[in-house]
Every structure is written in C-alpha cells, then in structure tokens.
Amino acid sequence: MNFSPQLEQKFADLLTHYPEGRQRAALIPMLMFAQDEVGSITPDVVTELAKRCGITPLQVDEVIGFYSMLHRKPLGKYHVQVCTNISCLLVGGEELYEHACKKLGIGHKQVTADGQFSLEEVECMGACSWAPAIQIGYDFHHAVSPQKFDQLIDALRKIQ
C-alpha cells in the first residue's frame, strides 16, 4: 500500500526520530496521519504500518483500540465534536450537544446518510476558558451558541 508522496516523506522522516531499533515509536503518529489521508484505519493500513514499524498487525490493533481519535470506520467529511465536560457543561455544552443532534439528525458517533457529517460528544478539548467549544475536524470553534452552531453547519452544507 502506498501513500501520497508528501505522507511518504513524512513517514520516512518520522522513522529517523527515534533511537536505533525503536521505530515502533512512529506508530501512533503514522496512524493519525494515515487516517487523515485515507479517511479511516482500514485493514490495509494496519498491515502496512505493522510492516513498516516491524510489529505484528495484532500489535497495531491493540494500539488502535486504546486511542479515541483512531477510527476503523470512516467518519463524516466534517467530524463535529462537541465538548460537554465540566467547563462547557456549566455554560450550555449539554444543550449545545442536544441541539447538534437535532440539527444534524444523528447521535453520538453516528454519520449522516450522505456521509457529510459525523457527530461525537467528546471529553475536554482544552478550550475551557472559551466554552462551550466544538471542533470540526481539527478546527476549534469557541463560545458556540446554538445559533452560531447552525451558521457553521449551514455554511459547510453550502460548500457541498
């Protein structure tokens, strides 16, 4: 399995970051970057990265199972993550999450039928002083009201 030339370059570079014989250390960054390119961690990605890191596919699988940002199934094109942890909860994070479910018509870890949006209720994302916060993909949005949420989603729907 081949990745884009840019990603291949990134992987080659990554493998030089660690002490001799400890190249397994590149696994988690490789999984994250591969997922960004492929869309999810497919069985092919598992086999390929196992080979490159010199470990078994099973060892890759057990790592994937541990980390909440690694997904075996494709997410929506726009992965909407709403924080409802304590700082967000206090200023409307839970209401925002309920609003997001209604607006997108899906629940926790579900994907819309057209594959455009997925939703996840997430734990603290480090935006507590600008709560309630959401992330769409890797982009942070701070102090999100239901109205602001609708504007963000409507703008993304127009792009399609």
Partner: protein, 436 residues
Amino acid sequence: MLYNAPHPLEVKVLTRRFGLENSASIDTYLATDGYKALGKALDMTPDDIINEVKASNLRGRGGAGFPTGMKWSFVPRNVDKPKYIVVNADESEPGTCKDRLLIENDPHQLIEGVLIAALAVGASKGWIYIRGEYRYLIDIMDKALAEAYARGYLGQNICGRGFNFELYTQTGAGAYECGEESALLESLEGKRGVPRIRPPFPAVSGAFQSPTILNNVETFCAVPAILRDGGPAFSALGVPKNGGTRMFCLSGHLNVTGVYELPMGFPLLKMINEIGGGVRGGRKLKAVIPGGSSCPVLKAEECDLPMDYDSLMKAKSMLGSGGVVVMDEQTDMVKAALRIMHFYQHESCGWCIPCREGTTWLKKLLTRLDAGRGTIGDVNLVGDLARNMLGRTFCPLGDAAAMPTISIVEKFRDEFEAKLANYTAPRAQSSQFVVV
C-alpha cells in the same frame, strides 16, 4: 492567535510576548531577549543550572507540583545510556487550556527551556508530545523547530559550542491517561498508554528505558526566565516554596473567562472578583474547582485563600494544573459530580481494577442519584467506594476520579438528599430501572 486581553493585575513573565506581532517567529523571539538564557546556560556547569532552577522554587506545573530542580538532579550522571527530554503537551485535564497558548504564541520559549534542561542533564534528544486534538499546534511547533534548526539553535554544534541536541514533535491520538508521565512514555514508544510501575522513575528509566526529564510545557517555559533573571528573582515573584507566576485558566460562571498569568499565592477570591469580573448574572458563588477536575472542590466559604500548592494542600485540595472552574449558586452539584465521573470512567485505561470497576460503578450510582432515584445508602456508597479507590492504583487517575467525588458528596450531601426527597415517579413507569 488565541489569547485574551491582558489584565492589569497580571505579572507577565511567560506570557510577555503574547500579543506581539508574529510572536511565534524566531525573529520576534530573538528581538526580545530570546535564546539569551541559553547563551548563559552554555557558560554554566550542569550543577550550576540545576542549582539556579532549585533557587527559583519552580514546581511542576502539570499538577503534582514537584520541585523541578530536584527532579532534574535525580538524573544519574555517570551512565552510558543516552539521556532524553520529554515535554508533556498532552494537556487534557478538564478546566485547563494554558499550554495551548504557550505553544501557539511563543513556541521558541519552550524550545529554549528544553535546551537548558538538556544542558543540565547532558541530554541529546527530546520529544514534545502534543495531544492529537491540538493538530494545529504541531504545525506551529514544527515551523518553530525548523527555524531553530536553520538558525543553529538545534542540531549539531549549537551556538558553535559543541552542544548537540535534536528535538521533535510527537502527536498523541486521544487519551487523557497519556498526560500521566509513565503512560505518556508508553505512548511515545508506540504502545497503549497504560502506566508503568514505579520505581524506577523516569529520571532513571524513562523514554526508551533511558534517563529522562519529563515536565509540563509551562514548567519548561519558565526556565528561560529563571536563567535570564536568576532563580531568586523568579522565586521572589511568588510566595515561599512556590516560586514565580503561573497560568490560571478561568472558566465556568464568570463574567470574564480567560487565561491569566498571576503570581503564585494570588488570592482566589480576588481572582474571581477582579480578574474574572465576579460571578455571572450577579449570582452568588457556590463552589470552585481550584486546579482541574481532579481536585477536591472548595465551597464558597473555603475560597478565601491564596492560590499556591501549600495553601491548597492545607485546604485539603490541590493547585493542580491551574484550571479554576467557578460554579454559581444554581449549579446542580449532583450533575457536576456525574459529569466528572463520566469523564474518568471514559478515560480510565483499564489497567488497575479499582479504577476501571470503581469509575464504572460510581458512574452508574451517580446516574441513578442524578435522576433522583436510589436511596440514602447509595449516597453513602458513593463516598465509600471512592475512598476505597484512593491510593490503590498504579497512576493517579483513580485518585483523580475519587477525590472530587468524595468532596462533592461530603460538602453537598444536602443536594443528593434533596433530589431523592423531591423525586416523583413518572406514572406507569414507577419500577423503571435507570439503564447506564
């Protein structure tokens, strides 16, 4: 660039470059005393550097508050193994959002702090472990690292002084547990982030089983100022045994929220009323989480205290990671306890049974109590169960889940009782179980 307008009561040491034009660039950094502390450190012996850090009374900003200079002195000198530096930028303690600003606005300050630590222990390589959600910070940090390599502040023969050091970014993939030092090291090595048994501590056997200094972003960021202005000067900014300033992240029911750099020992009530502009909507204060959700909560009447490690310890709480979460009189404390437990249950790595089973059981009990169901016995059980998790796990996550829970049950027991007393069963569903 993300940062809030400065407050006149702030003492800007780590945040002095926030708001400058291109504050993240090496040119801005060099124009504002950047890498001067490194020059100074290159003329010092490792012992002198460590003594300077000891004199600063800098304590670990990640949460535990261990004296940084002492931590560095634990790295053995005469061993053949390479030595490493690891930066903990896996900021994920609920209520905490400061490391993000330090990297975004002034990444070179972090690089310089790491370089000084490397000189202090003779390290040759380092990694900045950044939580996966902070992808944009990896781009900012990689850019800063490239600048530092290009200008001779990283790589071979740094500043022409025969000092070699390589520094890389490493991304996490979503796991609160990886903020715990030994779990972070496991994750750095490409494994599941489960904690290691200690001893040996990372100073002796850390990354790749080599001696390692592992500190929080904010801790490393304080180091250039310590070398530049001297340890005693940094120490004098704070209170005895609690040197310097720290980043306080104000969130919750305040008129003004944000991240502010204040001297150690800054009074909590002054922080709430003057920096935070008081409680929102003119309501009364009910409780404060003083340092991230792992800390026991303080009732309003306990909040008249200075914010330093020792004062918080005396009040049976912790200064933690600087996440100050303010709750007003209308806050449902049972619900707050449930949400906090929901988090720890989700994030427990499953390695130690008291934590894995305890957090799950507590979440179930609290869900039932929040719904007004259950009995007074369940309220007692929550407290008992949490107390039995304390000190019975390899890493502090079990304690972190237990401590706020114990404090909420003890201090706000009346709210649990009120929920039980006010419960009216929905008709035709009176025997319904709460399914979790």
